[in-house]
Amino acid sequence: MTYLAKPPLHHPSLERNAVGFTRRDYEGRISTLCAGCGHDSISAAIIQACFEIDLEPHRLAKFSGIGCSSKTPDYFVSPAHGFNAVHGRMPSVLTGANIAAKDLIYLGVSGDGDSASIGLGQFCHAVRRGVNMTYICENNGVYGLTKGQFSATSDKGSKAKKGAENKDSPIDLVMLALQLGATYVGRSFSGDKTQLVPLIKGALSHKGTSFIDVISPCVAFNNHVGSTKSFDYVREHNEAVNRMDVISPRAPIRADYKPGELKEVVQHDGSILRLRKLEHDYDATDRNAALGYLARKATEGEIVTGLLYVDPEASDLHDGLNTVDCQLNKLTDQELIPPLSALEKINASLR
């Protein structure tokens, strides 16, 4: 589906992308989050990424659950339809919509409470089905909207603002996503836009389940000393395994790097993920190695970021379902209603 670009109401100086939109066309309503909240930075990165990959804004479909993080889809890409589901159940709603209208680009935004507590089952199952989506968890280690309880991604021993210590083992959604078959897995930090924007771009261009865990400090309830999800803690323990550029299918290919230093991964839609290794023996296309590396680093207290795994050949849920090319929501009556003769045959078989 392509339509005429948006009428040019905007300030002429705003740069347009290949499909004729300005960055402002990807904005949303004014955020109601706390000043300084990590989630707002992620919204900005999403806006940037959508603009840069030349996505017509209405071709995005935005989903979320409940939480501060889950409010954000209202704050970016207003021309896209948005859906604020019930708490923890966004993955199922997104899956259903994707089944109905597969040609759109699906973005799910959730929080660590929404994804790792009440929503853990749906998260895991959406991943194992290979739903074609980008799933971003805005991970602050607390329930922001209900005022600062531990979430299931809180590290053992991490301290709450009022001093209580978390005793439960943490859930690492990246490890789960890897284990359950996600085909594009990354981790980043709301404070690192240079890393985050390309990760989102790559994810949106990926066919299959993309998961990005973004550590996103909660300035109101989890940014104190003793928290392992504070700005300071994350900055100190952030270990990026690679840096990535995403090159659009249309862009001319330049080869100005020395071989070895770079790895190029061509995705389904022709986009190229150009990976510059920072950790020299990290191979982002080896799932088991990634699992092992992450487990080790987690024990050491390091937060591994970057593109952690990608399978550019991935298939998705629709492949498994063997659906027709036409979106299910566009099938006509004729394509849907069987002929009367079929009904008569069935009647006959039941006599």
């Binding site: 479909a61 896209a80 339809h81 109905a100």
Partner: protein, 610 residues
């Protein structure tokens, strides 16, 4: 005791062991009778287990066409030693017992007021078959052979049916013939004719023998459903399986690709979530489940109500509460479905009364859901869903189009049709919507379960909230004239008494009405087919002094809904309740209503609650 003599009017019951392959032989028996033109009401009674526990199949042969369960057994085919004693007790005095006489049984194991018919089934089969599984299976068809002789079933019809049944597995046909013949010949040679007979007739017409779940699934196909998200649960599982079967048959395109999708979700919450996602995006989607699933779906159903998203839920009701009786029938999810979820909510329900209506409502539910943008429950019951009923053939008007309701397209938006997601543009309180991706600059909106204004923007203002909630009530009013109307049967004589009922109670009620009439008791009858109730329902109540409400639950849930929605005085509605998990019978209804009329109980208003 005189042996019972009856032609085309008796009950045969088969007592078997679950997993022993008896189901197909028993079904065959019922179908033979049907092919001979004699109506049959047939019911499987099975345990919540896979293998080894008792199971029964009850066949009511009724030229008069009474298809409800009758109660009592005229001929018991007792194949399960575990339940022998109880099975024998059920036989009516003067009735018959057919049993496997291969092993001798002491006289104390029998009754002397019934006719005992032994046939050495195990021996007969052992002589001809050697594989143990085969022996087990063919014993079943062997007793069908015995019955064929005893009751006068046409052998050709049996063989014709066996041939159809095993089409594709042709090498099974001859052994089945043989097993059948073994039984038939043995009976012919050794057993005196009995008083029960099946005689060819012409009372079946063009009716079909169909299960409600299968019918509802087919209805969903004709109704344009493209997506089923489900989680297995008895007794709804076969609905999803049938949808798979019919879609595979009817919805493949030329390249073998699917014009449908079926996802077995991880649970019921995910099922309804997917359905809502698909409905939001413009595909007709449904889930099928039973009571426990409805309990789990509560939160999402409230979301669908408030955010106004179409969804269809087939609730194949079983015995509650909790895990309850998974393989027994009830009508006990009404209250839950009607007001599912926290806050003020109301949800439409359809009550098919037979598999034909299951087909019809299975299609219509999607038009209603799309038009009213809300969850529509199709309230099936195990007794309809998982039992084969003799029912009218499925019909479809080729000119019928899917009514997708108020959807603004790219063209509308281009033409400048204004869009506000929750505005009541047409005065019927039903708003317009758009599918995602419709237009680059117009028509997008944000869907949420939190309070919102007419344009779907977040709002905590009391006025925005109440305006929306009041519109939802007006939408509810609009619905009343769109859902299936009740079916009213007037008594032959003018009467102050009425009866209201629904769903699977239909055949038992028809029979009861006829019998009551013959005892001089006249009742006007109304079968409710949908909630919200249309005015006709309340007119009917107003026009009668007392109305019996017959339902299959403990708490009179239909009565509660009638009182609550119609402002009816509860004292004028007299509950007739059957809820032990077995299908309601005409006998029960007749007895209960007669007693209540005699006691005049219904007329006297209870002192406390005038």
């Amino acid at each position: 005791m005189k042996p019972i003599a009856a032609t085309n009017d008796f009950v045969v019951k088969f007592a078997n062991v679950n997993g022993s392959g008896s189901a197909s032989a028993n079904g065959m028996f019922a179908k033979v009778v049907l092919r001979m033109g004699v109506p049959v009401g047939a019911r499987n009674i099975f345990p919540s287990n896979i293998q080894g526990l008792p199971t029964w199949y009850e066949v009511r042969v009724s030229e008069a066409g009474w298809l409800g369960r009758r109660g009592g057994v005229d001929l018991m085919v007792a194949m399960n030693p575990q339940t022998w004693d109880a099975d024998l007790k059920e036989i009516m005095p003067g009735g018959y017992l057919l049993y496997d006489s291969s092993k001798p049984l002491p006289a104390s194991k029998f009754r002397d007021d019934i006719t005992i018919i032994g046939a050495p089934l195990t021996e007969l089969i052992a002589a001809e078959f050697s594989v143990p599984r085969e022996r087990q299976l063919f014993k079943n068809i062997c007793y069908v052979g015995v019955l064929a002789h005893l009751l006068g079933l046409e052998s050709d019809t049996v063989k014709q049916l066996l041939t159809e049944e095993f089409k594709g597995k042709d090498k099974l046909i001859q052994p089945n013939f043989k097993a059948f013949e073994l039984g038939r010949a043995y009976a012919e040679a050794n057993i005196a004719p009995i008083g029960l007979r099946v005689q060819r007739s012409d009372k079946v017409g063009d009716r079909i023998f169909a299960e409600g779940n299968d019918a509802a699934a087919l209805g969903a196909v004709y109704g344009g459903a493209t997506f089923c998200a489900w989680y297995p649960i008895t007794p709804s599982t076969s609905l999803a399986e049938s949808f798979q079967k019919y879609c595979t048959m009817l919805r493949k395109d030329a390249d073998g690709k699917n014009r449908f999708a079926i996802v077995q979700a991880e649970d019921e919450i995910a099922s309804i979530g997917m359905v809502i996602g698909a409905g939001w995006a413009g595909s007709r989607a449904f889930t099928c489940t039973s009571g426990p699933g409805i309990s789990l779906m509560n939160e999402f159903v409230g979301f669908s109500y408030y955010a106004e998203i179409p969804a269809v839920i087939f609730d194949v009701q079983r015995g509650g509460p909790s895990t309850g009786m998974p393989t027994r029938t009830q009508q006990s999810d009404l209250l839950l479905a009607a007001y599912a979820s926290h806050g003020d909510t109301k949800h439409p329900m359809l009550f098919p009364g037979n598999p034909t209506e299951a087909f019809e409502f299975g299609a219509q539910a999607f038009d209603l859901a799309d038009f009213f943008q809300t969850t529509v429950f199709v309230m099936l019951e195990l007794d309809i869903g998982m039992q084969e009923w003799l029912t009218e053939p499925f019909k479809w008007d080729e000119k019928r189009r899917l009514n997708r309701g108020k959807v603004l397209t790219y063209e509308h938006l281009e033409q400048g049709v204004p869009f506000g997601r929750y505005r009541d543009v047409d005065g019927d309180a039903v708003p317009y919507r758009t599918y995602p991706g419709t237009h680059p600059t117009k028509g997008s909106y944000f869907t949420r379960g939190s309070s919102h204004d007419k344009d779907a923007r977040y709002s905590e203002k009391g006025e925005d909230y109440t305006e929306g909630m009041q519109r939802l009530l007006r939408k509810w009013d609009t619905m009343k004239s769109h859902v299936p109307a009740p079916i009213i049967k007037k008594a032959k004589k003018r009467t102050p008494d009425g009866v209201i009922y629904m769903g699977s109670t239909d055949p038992a009620m028809e029979e009861a009405l006829c019998a009551l009439e013959s005892h001089g008791i006249h009742l006007d009858a109304l079968r409710v087919r949908a909630f919200p109730f249309s005015n006709e329902v309340f007119d009917f109540i107003r026009d009668h002094e007392q109305v019996f409400v017959v339902e299959q639950n403990r708490d009179g849930q239909l009565k509660s809904l009638l009182v609550n929605e119609g402002g009816v005085h509860p004292a004028r509605l007299v509950s007739v309740l059957h809820y032990d998990g077995t299908p309601i019978t005409a006998r029960f209804i007749i007895k209960d209503i007669t007693e209540k009329l005699q006691a005049g109980q219904a007329a006297a208003l209870p002192e406390k609650a005038k």
